[in-house]
Amino acid sequence: MTGLAILATVIVIVPLIAIFGYLIYKGASSLNFAFFTKSPAPVGELGGGMANAILGSAIVLALASAIGVPIGIGGGIYLAEFGRGTKLAAAIRFTADVLNGVPSIVMGLAAYALIVVPMKHFSAYAGGVALGFMMIPTVCRTSEEMLLMVPNAIREAALGLGVPNWRSVLSITVKTASPGIITGCMLAFARVAGETAPLVFTALGNQFWSTNLNQPIAALPLQIYVYALSPYDDWHRLAWAGSLVLIVLIVFAVSLVRYVTSRGVLKGAS
């Protein structure tokens, strides 16, 4: 039986390492300077890069963060500080967890109905709204967890000095937990950075350099999807390179979160 458990672990670990290894091997051999500086070459020509997709992803993600981060953090503060122990907070927490599990494609449908239909065309706004909605529950829950790691003694000390509750929350608790909250936001950012399904019919994708928020815009995961299913070897190469860029972003965010949480009580709190 011990053998079985070890065998299961090996069976799981081997393909996972294979995925990582293959990705890094393929990605690193395909990545070059042009990838970051050039737009896609016309069909049939070699070379080109994904500069427009990187820019597009950055724009859509900036829009998403503008929606998701403030609302998410606000919700997290409510859950951890003002609503602690209330039934309403429990209901919000539960709904946030459930919302986290709603398929991203459904978020895309909602953004389509909210933005694309009234505007009558695909746009970067719609992509940003879809991803922003996806960020809210994640940011909300991680901020809450980070705030709960702040020791109560600090809150009591602030209140003991006669500081009103809202002031103590904003300038003491949130400030103490801020490294954790920021990394939580980064994790949510990295997660939605790789989302493709909600963008397929909101941001739509674009083969050209575009900064117009009101028009369809390229995004890195969308471009990877299109290129992966294309028949051209050179496009496959770009897809692998794009994947490596996304993976590096995610590894960075996950390690940062691990680093911050593994230090136990946040810096300056102990």
């Binding site: 039986m1 458990a5 299961a8 069976i11 799981v12 393909p15 996972l16 995925i19 609302i71 998410g72 953090i73 606000g74 919700g75 409510y78 500080e81 003002f82 609503g83 309403l88 907070a89 919000i92 709904t95 967890d97 459930v98 986290n100 599990g101 709603v102 398929p103 991203s104 494609i105 459904v106 895309g108 449908l109 909602a110 389509y112 109905a113 909210l114 909605f133 809210i136 991680t142 967890e145 980070m146 990295a190 950075a193 790789g194 989302e195 493709t196 399904a197 397929v200 995961p221 990877i224 999807y225 992966a228 299913l229 496959h236 994947s243 993976i247 995610i250 996950v254 390690s255 691990r258």
Partner: protein, 305 residues
């Protein structure tokens, strides 16, 4: 702050409202029959499920595809995930625990499209050249594996990639649930003369079983809604086949593939209704999973995952 918290409810309500409004056409025309009806092709007299041009829509092949691929994924992933969780909590050397936990966390965060990319270039050729012929040879008599699809795409490919994707989620939640079983429980079982395996089975797994079921259901929820990776390997065909090696389509993949280029209002409405069904089902599945996991882990501090 309260408003921000309440926005979560607003989002859920907004999604539900918009999906219902946008699927009015098919809701009215087909009613509940949308989920099971079968049409016949007037020319060939074959079964027909999805004909956007003649506005005949049935979600049946997509429900079938979703169920089959998710079921295959659970079949492959659950035993492995529990094995991994047992290994990590009960017998893993302390040195390995950190890196392995980190690796699972990382894998849970890899975007779907990258799994899909890997599946298209590595997994599918592997299945096509080695695994599928073997399945046809050994299990072909059951009718579940027939060799009429030379592409390597299909339900099996989708099931395998889904299994790889939900493994980290199931195993890390199972690990969390198992680590909430008090140590005194383990020591008590060991003191009664149990071997280590008996201790794991009776002292840990039995106590944590509700939470483990919860994490499996959460994995199911992810598998049901997984879109891009599945869309890249399932072959995209609105048909029902007995053979698990044939092309199919799931609820999520048909939306991703057809929504941006739908041919008319009825088509959009049909796709939205499929989305609505997916939304309702995943809400229920996730709520159930949360309740089960919460029943086990409450009272212990939560962790960031």
């Amino acid at each position: 702050m309260l408003l921000c918290g309440l926005s979560i409810f607003v989002i859920v309500g907004l999604i539900a409202f918009e999906l219902v409004v946008r699927s009015q056409l098919t809701l009215h025309k087909f009613g509940f029959a949308f989920f099971y009806q079968v049409f016949t092709d007037p020319q060939t007299n074959l079964k027909l499920f999805w004909d956007p041009v003649n506005e005949q829509f049935s979600a049946r092949p997509f429900i079938y595809g979703t169920l089959v691929s998710s079921f295959l994924a659970l079949l492959l992933a659950v035993p492995l995930a529990i094995g991994v969780a047992v290994f990590l909590t009960e017998m893993c050397p302390r040195v390995l625990r950190g890196p392995l936990a980190f690796l699972t966390e990382l894998l849970a965060a890899i975007p779907s499209v990258i799994y899909g990319l890997w599946a298209v270039f590595v997994l599918v050729p592997l299945l096509r050249d080695y695994v599928n012929p073997l399945l046809v040879k050994t299990l072909g008599w059951s009718g579940l594996f027939s060799d009429d699809n030379p592409t390597g795409l299909g339900y099996v490919a989708a099931g395998v990639i889904l299994a790889i994707m939900i493994l980290p989620i199931i195993s890390s939640l199972t690990r969390e649930v198992m680590s909430t079983v008090p140590h005194s429980q383990r020591e008590a079982v060991l003191a009664l003369g149990a071997t280590r395996w008996e201790m794991i089975r009776m002292g840990v797994l039995r106590n944590a079983r509700i939470g483990i079921v919860g994490s499996v259901i959460l994995g199911l929820g992810r598998a049901l809604g997984e879109t891009m990776a599945v869309a890249m390997v399932i072959g995209d065909a609105p048909e029902i086949h007995r053979s698990l090696l044939s092309n199919g389509s799931t609820m999520a993949t048909v939306i991703a593939n057809e929504y941006a280029e739908a041919v008319g209002d009825m088509h959009l409405s049909a796709l939205t209704e499929i989305g609505l069904a997916l939304f309702v089902v995943t809400i229920f599945v996730n709520a159930l999973a949360q309740v089960l996991i919460w029943a086990v882990t409450r009272g212990t501090p939560s962790q960031v995952h």
